[in-house]
């Protein structure tokens, strides 16, 4: 149960992080990590795209982004915003960004329009069709000021980003920032996290002698990963505690059952039932009881998880805030993999076998006279 919840949260969180934020791998100028400035952008063209894509056939595509902080405002207010020039088609192919549109639509590559994330739009009281002012600096200190019509408002699954992102068409952003042809980040996509390391090292050897460097998503967000691992350890620990609790509960049942039946066992030995036969009967009983418990438990858990699956728990209050801070969605989704049920059922079965040791030892040590007293 807990693991289901946890795994569900983690899968979604990693997915969101990778698809909306970091990519599975990311190419940057080697100075960018130290100083995330437009000055440390790098030149990106078809030639580079082809070279990187060709390094490994697990690479699906690359997504160029140019991003920098600017002031975003209107008549009403001004806020710091992460301005991100993107290839909207590619982003959509990677993370279905357009499905998150709340209103309006995405810009075409050559439009001079912006898409604003929902949180930012709310703070600035912006709606589709309004005008957004962007004020900041471009590459090498060039001033960068412009007005954009808002073509749409989109919800970003990572709350922090949702509160501060402005999307521009890549070409428009490059123009605004005096960075024609330049990008700051190149996200690399693959079909599964399993290939992250493979593609990263393939790219690394290709760009070895250039002023570029490549990171895996885990290298880009180590803090988050740590949190995640800690969380998983917590989940396993919790599971272990649960198994111990289940084990002791079950042990208690079998213990009482065994002790209550000592007289019966003694009688059976008296009239001529072999200890080994008696042990087999009790083993069958123990397994039967545990299976019944497992099936019942699984049934209830399945129903419960299914319910949660259909109706994820909406978290509110402090917990929700804390989770939003971490970039989760404030819901508790569940992982719904059948193998978890089998695994846990198997564990319970093992517990039954361990618990059976008690009646087993009792039966073989049983002194008939003491038992029948």
């Amino acid at each position: 149960m807990m693991q289901s919840l946890n795994r569900g949260s983690h899968e979604i969180m990693i997915d969101n992080m990778v698809r909306f934020h970091t990519g599975y791998a990311q190419v940057q100028d080697y100075r960018f990590e130290e100083e995330a400035s437009l000055d440390n952008a790098f030149y990106f063209d078809n030639e580079l795209e082809n070279r990187i894509t060709a390094t490994n056939n697990r690479i699906e595509m690359v997504l160029p982004r140019i991003q920098t902080f600017m002031l975003a405002g209107n008549d009403y207010a001004t806020r710091g915003a992460m301005v991100m020039g993107i290839d909207a088609e590619k982003e959509h192919a990677f993370n279905n960004l357009k499905d998150n549109l709340i209103s309006g639509e995405f810009f075409e590559p050559n439009d001079r329009k912006a898409v604003v994330t929902a949180g930012l739009a709310k703070r600035l009281q912006l709606e589709t069709g309004d005008v957004l002012v962007l004020i900041g600096q471009g590459r090498f200190g060039m001033s960068a000021n412009a007005l954009y019509e808002i073509s749409g408002i989109v919800r970003h699954p990572i709350r922090e980003m949702d509160n501060q992102t402005v999307y521009l068409p890549l070409a428009e952003a490059q123009f605004l920032l005096s960075a024609d042809g330049y990008i700051t980040n190149l996200l690399v996509s693959t079909s599964s996290d399993r290939f992250t390391n493979t593609i990263t090292s393939a790219i690394a050897s290709e760009i070895d002698d250039e002023e570029l460097t490549v990171f895996t998503w885990t290298e880009l967000i180590p803090d988050l990963l740590q949190l995640l691992e800690f969380d998983l350890v917590g989940a396993y620990f919790l599971a272990a505690v649960l198994y111990i609790v289940i084990g002791f509960g079950f042990f208690g049942t079998i213990l009482t059952m065994t002790l209550e039946r000592m007289r019966e066992f003694g009688m059976l030995l008296s009239i001529g039932m072999q200890r080994i036969k008696l042990a087999v009967v009790v083993l069958i009983e123990t397994i039967f009881i545990s299976l019944l418990g497992v099936l019942l438990g699984m049934g209830v858990a399945w129903l419960f998880l299914y319910y949660l699956h259909l109706n994820p728990i909406q978290l509110t209050g402090d917990v929700a805030e804390a989770i939003i801070e971490m970039g989760w969605e404030p819901i508790l989704p569940v992982s719904f993999a059948a193998d978890q049920f089998y695994t846990q059922g198997f564990y319970v079965f093992l517990i039954a076998l361990v618990v059976f040791l008690f009646p087993l030892v009792k039966i073989f040590r049983l002194n008939i006279l003491e038992a029948s007293r």
């Binding site: 007289r263 019966e264 003694g266 009688m267 059976l268 030995l269 008296s270 009239i271 001529g272 039932m273 072999q274 200890r275 080994i276 036969k277 008939i368 006279l369 029948s372």
Partner: protein
């Protein structure tokens, strides 16, 4: 040459030999023959239960040995002894130890199942025996649904089912009211007379003692008297029970 079915050779039993030794049996020599209807009597703590446990191979004597049908059971390996009990000795316990989840018929059949008899024989014999002990109409009742006397009759039927060489019963009537006790004794006596089943039972109950043909009195772990009542007199028994009833 005597036809001994059980023979004890100087058996002694000392409980807790290392701490507070209790000499429950002291050099007891006894012989039991086929067809006996024997009562073991004596004050509480005199060693009746201990003796019966020795005869049934449920406990080992500290000294001496027990022979059943010419086979020395003392010192037998545990699993071999269990098998020996299954094939040769019937038990009726004071607390009518039946299997609670089984019906009367299943309780009787179970011991035959252990003996690996055929299903048909099991069915047939269980029904026959339950009829004989007067429980033909309670075959499918579980122990909880039966009176103490009825449960004890199931226990007798179970003991008979395995066709043992003899049946040991430690205070079989101790938890029964007078009429149930007499009814049980009637059944045991009938089995003894008609089929020559050997019964050895311990008791405190004078009415039960009076029904026995041989009475062994234990005192302080030793055989005090060992008397044969040539003819167990039903008149005395009846008078006796009437006297007790009117008291």
């Amino acid at each position: 040459m005597k036809n001994h079915i059980i023979k004890t050779e100087n058996i002694s039993k000392t409980y807790n030999p290392d701490t507070v030794p209790v000499h429950a049996l002291k050099a007891v020599n006894l012989e039991f023959s086929k067809g006996e209807f024997t009562s073991i009597v004596g004050p509480s703590g005199s060693g009746k239960t201990t003796l019966l446990n020795m005869l049934g191979g449920l406990d080992k004597p500290t000294e001496g040995h027990v022979e059943v049908d010419g086979v020395k059971i003392t010192g037998m390996k545990d699993s071999k002894l269990i098998e020996f009990r299954l094939q040769n000795i019937g038990f009726v316990f004071q607390h009518y130890n039946l299997i609670p989840v089984f019906t009367a018929k299943e309780n009787v059949s179970f011991i035959m199942l252990l003996q690996k008899r055929s299903k048909k024989e099991m069915e047939h014999r269980a029904e026959e025996l339950l009829n004989k002990v007067g429980l033909g109409d309670r075959m499918d009742a579980r122990p909880k649904q039966m009176s103490g006397g009825q449960q004890q009759r199931v226990a007798v039927a179970r003991a008979l089912a395995s066709e043992p060489k003899f049946i040991l019963a430690d205070e079989p009537t101790a938890n029964l009211d007078t009429s149930s006790a007499m009814n049980l004794l009637d059944i045991m006596e009938k089995m003894n007379k008609e089929q020559g089943i050997t019964f050895i039972f311990s008791t405190h109950d004078q009415r039960v003692i009076d029904r026995a043909r041989r009475v062994i009195t234990m005192v302080d772990g030793q055989v005090h008297t060992d008397e044969i009542h040539k003819e167990s007199s039903s008149t005395i028994t009846e008078n006796d029970s009437q006297r007790i009833d009117t008291e």
